[in-house]
Amino acid sequence: MKVLVTDDAKFMRMQLSDILSKIGHEVVGEAENGKDAIEKYKELMPDLVTMDITMPEMDGVSALKEIMQVNPNAKVIMCSAMGQQSMVIDSIQSGAKDFIVKPFDRERIENAISKLV
């Protein structure tokens, strides 16, 4: 799967890219905020987007909503340090396919992606 990784922390983008490559996916791009993610989504049209929530410029839930307007079949997995129920419900209702709470491990990422296929 071609993946766009979105996170404002370079360390987290490195972690996610590393896990995704190890489980056989191709990271085609990295975005550091919601606005950047929308632009890169349109440009790269990836099969999957991982989306952080708390980011400068534009948060992940707003970016998710815009990406779903660009492509209602887009596959977006939220990847956030905040896992309160309201945030999870808002994300899923806005079209996210899964919600991963940080810190995560390789198995959790594998599990979320396997449910998409």
């Binding site: 922390a9 360390f11 340090a81 905040m82 709470v101 810190p103």
Partner: protein, 161 residues
């Protein structure tokens, strides 16, 4: 009577935030950590080598500061990700650690009907002095015999209810 209610709600939120913070630290850092009893900071506070500052909004208004030296943060990076970090990557990790600890704290207390949000982290490198905050509560987190980080909750007095 109304003022008393507001005060007690504020105290409840502060207490739950501290408990939520302790649980968050214990859940996130995989090694055996020992958290000191919370203590009040009445005067200025000096941050050591590195730190991260995160804004809190919602039912509580203030900031979370997590500070320590390079070795302490690398001890955590090693225990969570099996690697020691340097330079920009270490700074980015510290920002994300602050995000994870504060984010999980918020998730923990959301179960008690307390609604908080966090701002993206600001990483601070170098010794700095923190002053002019109304209430500071400090939590020492002992990672090993020699490694320790400190979490400071800087809270504004007024309650948002």
């Amino acid at each position: 009577m109304r003022e008393v209610k507001v005060e007690s709600k504020h105290n409840f939120i502060v207490k739950e935030s501290i408990n939520g913070m302790i649980k968050s630290v214990m859940d996130i850092i995989p090694t055996e950590t020992k958290v000191d009893s919370p203590s009040l900071i009445k005067k200025e506070f000096y941050k050591r080598e590195m730190g991260v500052l995160i804004g809190l909004t919602g039912n509580l208004s203030g900031q979370v500061l997590i500070e320590g030296d390079k070795d302490a943060f690398n001890f955590i990076a090693q225990s969570m990700y099996g690697m020691a970090l340097e330079g920009e990557m270490l700074e980015s990790f510290i920002g994300e650690l602050g995000n994870m600890i504060s984010g999980n704290m918020i998730t923990n207390i959301s179960k008690k009907e307390i609604s908080l949000d966090i701002s993206p982290p600001t990483v601070i490198v170098g010794v700095s002095k923190f002053t002019a905050f109304e209430n500071g509560i400090q939590l020492g987190v002992n990672l090993s015999e020699n490694d320790k980080i400190t979490i400071v909750l800087m809270i504004k007095e007024e309650a948002v209810v």
